[in-house]
Symmetry: D2
Subunit: 356 residues, 4 copies
């Protein structure tokens, strides 16, 4: 038991899981080590110390995912605190290995078929939304998207038709049978929007608006949660966990581009997030090729690529006349472009054993 030999402090039966590894500095003293062990155990966790030749490692055991152990990083002698487990639970495939399929009025998101949600960025008029709804319905969309309340970077920009927009969306549903997906921007709006919409959308800027996540988690409507433009996969799944842990099990994840140094697109569409998410979670994953690229002529190739990457669906902006669009016309596709996209996306889906 000389220098460099190690032993491990035995612990008893533990029901939980390891969560952190605390790496001690080479020069850490025995009392530093004991101090770390005491602190962890005071939190109700078990410890396991591995003594190496010039460094010691403390493994923390237990299922207290809510405990913050970053503070250990400042304890004397500590070099690093390394997390071992992802902290989400309900969203995890470890908890629920089979995939979640979210029914949307006769259709579904997350099953074998790829589901396309299409419509204008913003509801502009009764005619515009009806015309678009009819067209996308005829060409295979499973739901209609359209913004009534619009999050705008500038307070001076058009903020949407608000409740009037919701009414037009409801009319379009009646006329076409398409389910309606629309954004909710604040907790107090949730009941109003849920009264009209079939699926509640949370925008990228609200992915960590926790009060809003809790509010939609308390409704019985499916939620389409857009990834924050600078959110890691872990943060994205934890945002979903807010909704799930409030009782709403119907969450659709949406990759919509991240903020990077690239300037040829508005955001960088990170398609590797699709298979990565599908390994980690049972929730369905869709892709928005419109907002991510910000360019009409990149929507089609990115829509194809998204489905090829394994996405369960698309969220795409279609407008009768993109140039006349009040918002985001630069990225909206026309009716003929939408029809062509559906044709090509269907071919891709079939090539990988799915359909549309």
């Amino acid at each position: 038991m000389g220098f460099g030999v190690f032993f491990v402090r035995p612990i008893g039966l533990v029901a939980g899981v390891k969560r952190m590894i605390v790496v001690m500095k080479p020069e850490a003293k025995d009392k530093d080590l004991q101090h770390v062990v005491d602190k962890i155990e005071a939190l109700g966790l078990k410890t396991m110390v591995a003594y190496g030749t010039n460094r010691r490692v403390v493994c923390c055991l237990g299922d207290k995912r809510g405990v913050d152990m970053d503070t250990l990083a400042t304890a004397p002698g500590v070099e690093a605190v390394v997390p071992v487990l992802a902290p989400y639970k309900i969203a995890s495939r470890e908890i629920k290995p089979d995939r979640t399929v979210i029914p949307i009025d006769g259709h579904s998101i997350g099953g074998t078929r790829v589901g396309v949600i299409a419509g204008p960025c913003t509801v502009e008029s009764r005619e515009q939304i009806l015309e678009t709804a009819h067209f996308v319905k005829e060409h295979g969309a499973v739901a209609l998207r359209g913004g009534a309340f619009k999050p705008r970077t500038s307070p001076y920009s058009f903020q949407g038709l608000r409740e009037k927009g919701l009414e037009y969306l409801a009319l379009a549903r009646e006329a076409t049978g398409l389910s309606v997906v629309t954004e909710v921007m604040s907790p107090e709006q949730a009941p109003l929007v849920a009264g009209y919409a079939d699926v509640l959308q949370i925008g990228t800027r609200n992915m960590q608006n926790f009060a809003l996540l809790e509010a939609v988690g308390a409704t019985d409507k499916p939620v389409l949660l857009k990834r924050g433009m600078s959110a890691s996969i872990n943060e994205f799944l934890l945002a979903a966990e807010y909704i799930l842990s409030n009782g709403n099990q119907q969450v659709i994840l949406c990759e919509r581009g991240i903020r990077t140094f690239e300037d040829h697109t508005r955001f960088t569409l990170s398609l590797s997030a699709v298979p990565a998410l599908k390994q980690l979670t049972h929730l369905p994953v869709v892709v928005d090729p419109s907002h991510s690229t910000g360019k009409q002529d990149l929507v089609l190739p990115m829509a194809r690529a998204a489905i090829a990457a394994g996405a369960d669906g698309l969220l795409v902006e279609v407008h009768p006349n993109p140039e006349e669009a009040i918002l985001d016309g630069a990225q909206s596709i026309t009716f003929p472009q939408y029809a062509e996209m559906m044709r090509q996306v269907k071919a891709i889906a079939q090539a990988i054993g799915r359909d549309i």
Copy 2:
């Protein structure tokens, strides 16, 4: 007037400002150009066309900052739409050249003196907040920070003492005379928090929570607005503009680190944002060296650097015993470290003709 000669369509007196330059493709037809001109003028803007040898440029004139002209990018023959003016107004130094000084109970943020707002990440107990308040007051802080409602990435993490935390903060104010800065997370919380706090803090994840910006814009309390972790300077000032345009002129901007590829700090503190902001806006700018770095031993050098860069103050986490902190102990500094930081920051402030 042969090939390559250009002319410019004369326009009359215009009160407003130029906002966009539309660059036409070389192959754009005359009717494409006319179409662009017609569209812009239909929006109530004036146009000015410069005919070059192989490209034509349409300049848009007028003060309609709220109009979206991105849709022009999809018009036939258009190569690019280039913005010329920043779209914020009230926040702009063009509108108000002299610097805004925000009084906080006997002190101020934005004047000659550098103002330090210090305290724990989270209010944990009556004793903890009182002890901290007394210490930072004795060592030159102008206000006390402390979270009662905490935005947490995971729903399973500690969410703050909530109203009890606000009560403790109020007690600390009574005991020390320090103003209280604390976060508000949703519009409906605004009245409650404003009832206790002297300054309302908006967190980085809520920088584009527009309902919340409007809610605090409707109060009469100063607002400390943290930069979104992936927000451009322009987006940051437009978020401030939401508050300002709702009637509240007391906004303090806070650079708190942006998300980049760097992994040696939690975020990348972008200190060039400080002088850049001070060129563009009259609002005071403070820096948070705690959350940006996420490391206790980087707080001191970054605090010095922030003041040297021209920041009007600091927002810094101090804890009686960082290792015992429930949250963010890894980045909180101790009382002796805080005292030393104040000593060094004062020396830096004096070196550039300010004080603390």
Copy 3:
């Protein structure tokens, strides 16, 4: 001709193209404007001044792409200098609208068929490279990849078999008829590597190693140029332009992932770069799903997505036993995984009217 009226200084016939727009500040004086005009004209460019109501704009005309006009930004009264044209020429589709097809010994990159270049990260032994070459040849690869000289982040890491590796690659070519793609790391290595290889690869870290670009530009071998991990599309095409302008017209571009904040993959594969590049340049574009993701189980979905996005080929790491790989085994796929990938990628290619 009162306040706010503008006129434009007429200019004569100009052969060239507009390159910059200089936006003057509202307060700019007439002499500031004249100064800017004089400076531009001293560079041999023509100018065109558009006088607006409160701002004046100077357009610069001419074909001097090599002239730096950033310095104008510091001239008195200047607010911004805005570029109008991309500065690459030979790589541009404006110059050469039809797509470049690069023949590689009976096969080609850039035509209707999708070309797959496969092989191990590093040549490890005669047996390893021969075994791999035979397998990928039988399963549709058009060329064999394998590193002999390896760029390594650490000087203590394995640097490749060097010339012995080149010899093994040549053996594999003889045995299978596959063309050989291998990396060249410095100008002086270029003749040696070109003596063995059919295609010279430039790694991501060398995308702006201009001496190296010139060296491979002076050879008669096709060059596979990997995008720098933080290069914009513009910089990528300018790096290609270095090779092209040195006389070598055979450049294959390779998107291989960019550096972002994401941590679930080694890099973020930016597939929107594929259609964006194909709009701008006639050069073929391939995708590396191995280095970009750094994860074996993401290679297949990203390979499918790349082809769906319109890529002309793939550069993929295959190893007889990834776990035994000296380098990058974590991202290498096995032989059965490769065979399955080819089957699926072929189906995707056919779905969009191509083949493999």
Copy 4:
């Protein structure tokens, strides 16, 4: 010894250090574990297995930093491979705790005094470099910077005066006594440039040009190594290690801005890299406020901030007439601005117990 109990396989005396922790999946079989252990030991490393309740962890011991263990990530049953130690040695403060001071002809970089290296981006003429050298010498510079060979994004841009530029720099050294810092762009240029220069500069685009690092590592001149614009701290120190391990112990590190989404500066100056580097390495660290910001009016505040953050010096662009500069005039400061910067930077240096 029932469920959840763990034990640790004892190992003997080991001279080396732990390098990796391999975390096994909950479902990993005993043979998976044994397989991992065997593979690690086959590399000559020792292992230590810690058995937890539902996961097992293998710690790898030994000093083989060059061994790649990423391949373990694909072994059956393995969840993650976590590195424990930084892989650089000679650059590390663990190896050499006292700071390296690099003498430059009567001055030094890395001691108590802050050293400023100033001069134009590019040597343009004999008069320009002499005039600048005299001015910066009179105002406290310790060395003269100036580019003779220029790395340019476009092949059509001005590439520098080349050897003629080196001659002018040598003239300026004779006339002023200032040491000369200039860039070397390729291995074959190294002897030529080293024949004229006192300090060899490696540009950001060449930070991982390993052949070049080795070439300057073989000279006896100090090397100023600029951080790659997307390099992590770890990669930066490993690039330095290439030079150090080739026998040249005189390396000056230079933070010059990283590539991020920010658009108000050319790059994002990451000043937290300064104290972070100074914790990890004994090498001196300087900051380039010119290239990082790309804006003349941000140079002064960022120069102050850099020194306040603890930088050992500055690399700053000064030009007799920035507007006339062939290159990078937009970020070059004038003579009066330089003199004022030196005055302010000196005050900052003195405020933290240093001088200039």
